[in-house]
Assembly symmetry: C2
DNA sequence: GGTGCGCGTGAGTATTTGCCCATACGGCGA
DNA sequence: TCGCCGTATGGGCAAATACTCACGCGCACC
């Protein structure tokens, strides 16, 4: 993916400088080109490179009245300790884009604490977006721990791993869950759970001071299905017994009560229990499809913090 | 300046939403127009309004190698507790633009502390830029105090007042210095200093946990001259006795030793004494003209923290 | 009630930007 | 050594954006 680090650094430096001149200095790409002694096209490419590489962060410093209202309503109805509602980006546009900056701010808020905290993390696209939107901060006083593994059934590790990226950005000690998300048999699971390494990570995760999780829907586009953890038949069976959503792979019904499924015995991750104000669990999720799953998790208190977007917030409250 | 608050809010809301769709969502202004049901021009105006009003903040998440080097060199040479060097924006462009975001970050760093702090502030364009670039944060645990008044000799209050704006953004209790910067006679000054209100503010400022100041040059374009605190003759006389710069109106020589001037007896503000690591004084300043003033202030330790830009940093180190 | 002023609006236009393509450069294998 | 391929570069062009101008509306003052 990259050339020599030296080369990369120099090009990123150039990109950063061009983007700085463009966004902070307000120069045109023409002016940047002559300032830095390159062609306009190159200047343009550097700026877009900087944006693509996430070197540039844009933040909105204004609380939209509508979003503030929705936040207040959600806080009141579900007794949330944290709640952020960001403007929607219109249909057919990835809501992760909208909520990632706000989620990153929530994370930064935790990271800014000077005392040492244990921060537990789920997986998923929304959390990945959060980490990408995060500014690098040195916060080595905290410990990061995974609620679940990042190895899929087929052994691939692509399942939107979050903890390693985050640890890299904040330079904090981190404890990934060194196991597959799901194993084939109850016995395998028991063996894994007995490993000291696994037991220590589980213990840390269960004692987390704050937890960030995604929330999965159980409709036909369920992440558990698209990521290959369930077959369509299994999904339909679980839907039939009333599945409404899942957090870290653990499936619950419309009241947010965890279901007693055969699947559970093969899940290796930590189940998030009812959140308390002292040990909040922040849900990071948005999208039409997730409304029911979110309402359920909020109802029972699996999550007591929420970062979502405007249409999703409205949908949750409409129910 | 503004219409009804209601009207303002609604228009800012629109602007913020348009800017969100533009910068975060990546829509074109055409798409924003149809999404929000307005004309393309209106969408464009809303976006530029949001930028002008400071609703949109852009930050660069990359440490340019050259800037990092300069920071390290400045830290080492002057024993600084904080140091930020931002890329220059080229000549003939306001360096405040470049350093304001970094200065705002330094301020946010202090504001994020959970313990209660006393934050003292000077005045000037650079500090004003810092406050404008600051994200609104609730930090009512801190107290903000002014080092000097904001009333000029002619009674006008325009001298880049900082503390009120800052207090508005962070909702912290604030203590402006309720006097002119400079008075006509020593007796007037004595009278003012004896007022309880003034004594309390002075006491608070002198005990500040952290201080943010601009740094003024004493060349022909001295802020003290352009703001009408000195006549050209006075300036030349002070230059003759070796003035190199000024902090909060107090003038020092090339070694950063405060000068014993007749003017001093008419200055009402608090003189910033040698900074300590426990009670840092952060200088916010950049520009060719300020190099000598900065080097002097750094040499004697009037300031032990610095936010500046690349050419200024290089100039300071070159001496 | 008229008149002037200021603000916001939309149309038109100049500038800027993003994208595509032809081309040049450099590494690598035949 | 030659030729191929992948990558980066600059020119050109269409789209997008910013600016200017003239108009219209509302408000206040006369």
């Amino acid at each position: 993916m990259s050339l020599t680090p030296e080369m990369d650094a120099s090009i990123d430096d150039q990109a950063a400088r061009a983007a700085w001149l463009y966004y902070v200095g307000g120069l045109t790409q023409d002016q940047i080109a002559s300032e830095m002694g390159l062609s306009r096209q190159r200047a343009q490419r550097l700026v877009s490179r900087a944006v693509a590489a996430g070197l540039i962060h844009v933040r909105l410093n204004h609380h939209l009245a509508r979003c503030v209202e929705l936040e207040a309503a959600l806080r009141a109805r579900f007794g949330l300790v944290r709640c952020r509602v960001m403007p929607g980006l219109g249909p057919a546009r990835d809501p992760v884009r909208s909520i990632a900056p706000a989620a990153a701010e929530e994370m930064e808020r935790v990271l800014a604490e000077s005392g040492s905290r244990v921060i537990a993390l789920g997986t998923g696209r929304a959390l990945r977006g959060m980490v990408d939107a995060l500014s690098p901060v040195e916060a080595p006083q905290h410990r990061l721990v995974s609620l679940l593994g990042n190895i899929a059934l087929d052994g691939s590790a692509s399942y939107f791993e979050v903890i390693m990226r985050l640890a890299e950005k904040v330079r904090a000690p981190h404890y990934p869950m060194p196991v597959p998300v799901l194993v084939d048999t109850v016995e395998e699971n028991r063996t894994l759970q007995s490993l000291t390494a696994v037991r220590k990570v589980r213990g840390l995760a269960q004692a987390a001071d704050v937890t960030f999780v995604g929330v999965g829907q159980m409709s036909e586009d369920a992440p558990l299905l698209t990521d290959g953890f369930l077959t369509p038949d299994e999904l339909h069976e679980i839907q039939r017994v009333g599945a409404a959503g899942e957090v870290a792979g653990w499936i619950y019904d419309r009241q947010g009560r965890y279901l007693d499924l055969a699947l559970n015995a093969r899940l290796t991750g930590v189940r998030v229990e009812i959140a308390t104000p002292e040990r909040p669990v922040i849900g990071i999720a948005a999208g039409e499809a997730k409304i029911m799953a979110l309402r359920a998790a909020l109802t029972s208190g699996i999550i007591n913090g929420l970062v979502t977007d405007e249409p999703t917030a409205a949908g949750i409250l409409a129910g």
